[in-house]
Symmetry: C2
Subunit: 450 residues, 2 copies
């Protein structure tokens, strides 16, 4: 008897991922798969005097991280990897202009990053590549004994989310998703207010990624060429973490609460085809593509504590940018875009929105109080990128746990496949996998990020 290895691998992987789906069953069956290592919740690593960094992917996003690494104390840019020679040149010049040594370079082919990972003079790796590369590169990074820092979303399937968790636990390495919105001035202030109980008991949150990105269809490099086709392959929330990350931190998800189930519904997919028709020649590939991702996707999540979260995704409709950023509790409500508050006993009551300037005076997050000037100087989405990168390096230099761990990366990213499944099943709900394997019940709450 021959072993059909392909089948075996598939079945074993599916079983490990806990996603055996009976046809017609109304929810995912999400048993907790067998642990392959030890929990990395609260993982502390030995304080690093010098943090030696390698970068895979130095397009717009990755180059921004390099620029920050060049100005944060105790950080060395050791190596960079990209397929495009002009990006290698550009970032090498960045380093030279900063008076730093030129990094070693990689990029001969898709897998040259593995040669970079074989070095033993790199401690952490930033991964800013197309989505499909996030998981294999994170896994390879951790298996090579390095910590992985990956752009959003960390994963686009449940199997892949589990792969990140399993690998982090097996290798005892960090796998942090670089969810920069968790470091926005507004978001950190609201987190501060949540921890001080200003909103009372939290009941409901809302986040979104509403960002008209249709002109990515005109790009011949950058994100467009690989990102646009996702709209022809998946119908759901393709990019959930910018909106969900801060809400999850407000609510201490995976740290006393967890996502329990999700339901999702999409509008028709009209915007991409219309844009292609109006802006591209008839024989352009986008005019041949069948776009299926609903222009607006709305997903609802129930947490174990019963709280509700609404998450939207719309990168196609002509409308202004918003991540919503709403948190509501028994004592008050905050809403972004533009920021406003209503808090019992503060200002003129809760029947009208109040200006947030007084909130900034009372609840500005310490990171922003201390570092507003540097954030303004080094920037990145209004400074949140710099604050995030600074904070990552701070934790590593001081041997403190990171603010986002692999369980957050897995759970926040999982909206992508879960919403897709619910949308395809007439919006019936799907169970949310518990990537903490039950530890959310006893994990300590996220402290106020210092």
């Amino acid at each position: 008897m021959r072993t059909d290895r392909r089948t075996f691998v598939r079945t074993a992987a599916a079983a490990a991922a806990g996603i055996l789906i009976a046809p017609g069953s109304k929810t995912y069956s999400s048993p907790i798969p067998k642990e392959r290592g030890k929990s990395v919740f609260g993982l502390k690593t030995k304080p690093m005097d010098i943090i030696r960094v390698g970068f895979i992917g130095i397009g717009g996003r990755g180059a921004g991280h390099v620029a920050h690494a060049l100005v944060i104390e105790g950080v060395e840019v050791k190596a960079i990897c990209d397929l495009l020679p002009d990006r290698i040149e550009y970032v090498t010049k960045l380093c030279r202009d900063a008076g730093r040594p030129e990094p070693d370079t990689y990029g001969k082919n898709d897998y040259d990053y593995r040669n970079m990972l074989e070095r033993n003079d790199i401690d952490i790796v930033y991964i800013s590549t197309p989505w499909r590369w996030h998981v294999p590169m994170c896994v390879d990074t951790m298996n090579s004994g390095k910590h992985a820092f990956v752009e959003v979303p960390a994963a686009t399937t449940l199997e892949d989310s589990w792969k990140l968790v399993d690998t982090a636990e097996k290798t005892q390495k960090n796998c942090m998703m670089l969810e920069n919105t968790c470091y926005g001035r507004e978001e950190l202030m609201v987190l501060n207010m949540c921890r001080q109980g200003i909103f009372g008991e939290l009941t409901h949150g809302e986040g979104a990624y509403i960002h008209d990105l249709r002109d990515q269809m005109l790009e011949t490099r950058w994100e467009g060429p690989w990102r646009v086709p996702y709209h022809a392959k998946h119908n759901g929330n393709l990019y959930p973490t910018h909106g969900l990350g801060p809400i999850a931190q407000y609510m201490n998800i995976n740290r006393g609460d967890k996502f329990d189930y999700l339901t999702s519904l999409s509008s028709p997919a009209l915007g991409m085809a219309k844009y292609a028709k109006e802006n591209l020649p008839p024989d352009n590939k986008y005019n041949q593509m069948k776009f299926i991702c609903g222009d607006m996707n709305t997903s609802l999540i129930k947490t174990a504590k019963g709280r509700s979260i609404m998450i939207q995704h719309d990168t196609t409709s002509p409308r202004p940018y918003s991540r919503i950023n709403l948190i509501s509790g028994t004592n008050g409500t905050f809403r972004g875009y533009p920021g406003r508050v209503a808090i019992t006993g503060r200002g003129e009551g809760t029947h009208e929105w109040q200006d947030i300037e007084q909130c900034y005076r009372d609840f500005e997050h310490p990171l922003w109080s201390r570092m507003a000037a540097e954030a303004a100087k080094y920037g990145g989405h209004g400074g949140m990128d710099f604050i995030m990168n600074w904070r990552v390096m701070y934790c590593l230099r001081n041997g403190e746990p990171l603010d986002q761990d692999v369980y957050d990366a897995a759970a926040w990213s999982a909206v992508f496949p879960l919403s897709e499944k619910s949308v395809a099943d007439r919006s019936n709900s799907v169970d949310y996998p518990d990537f903490t394997r039950g530890r959310w019940k006893t994990n300590e709450p996220l402290g106020i990020i210092k």
Copy 2:
């Protein structure tokens, strides 16, 4: 063999209502029940020179309608009915002060309204009573040969929604829900813009009833005493129509499109108990009540054309009023609270919200262009109540179909029971009954209300 009439009636009613629910089934089975009359879609009645009106319920809401009836041409206030003598006195004085004849009065007991319905000098009846009375009073009104105009929501169960439809079809009478928000200046302007195609093809809408009504717990009359206990009996969207009505009109629901299925999710129920504890003595009934209605309920509706609608309900959280009023299409987006637009090719593009003043100049609805002064003078929620009542009388006097029919009343109200069912079933979706019995496919679109 004796007939168990009670059982028979129950079974027959359930069968007629098409809501036989198999335990554990994942959606409502919503077969179209047998028609008992003729469709009342587009119902025209003989033009009335004089419209003779009876009023059941003249609390805050009903008295407002009487006040409008006293100033609209061709309308006579014939009779009023209320259990509270001081309301009878108050409204009688309203009529006297307006130089009009005093109406006959009813209110000896709960069923005295039926004596009013026996008169043959009344054409239409306004019903502004507690929710549980809406359907029996509408049914009795239509059966007595009069047209029914009922406050929102028209019904709180699917059986009752069907009862309204069946009775209207059997009697060929109007049963219009008085959804005043459909007559707001902003909403009518947006409807106008939708009909002119300004937003392109519509994809997504959002509505809400976010209104902190906790202080109704302190009321010893008005709505509080009968409305608050709903929070102890139902968990879902208790009051969907103010947000949904305008969106349904934008999308021509029941007139070329229809609600197809719904999913719903609630936050924990914390606000009411907290308010009772903080504001009422321990032995107050509200401190004995177990409140179960989630502070925030979010429901998603998919339409037959694939569009998505999000509807929220929160009357408990400390936050400012909002009906959201968002409509999005392939060409642009409108959002209320405060009103703002982003329309391709208008103003400075769609990446920033634009002021709506230019929209009012270009798309003000004719009703508001013509009647802003009267709306301001006679008021009612910023004038929308007066515009609605004027428009009702206009249609009746000219023998034109009303803007909202019994199918709208049934469908918009049905979010209450459908959301409750979905919330209780882990947010699995429920099929939406088609109250038009398939006629939505051929019903003419709602014209621009003149």
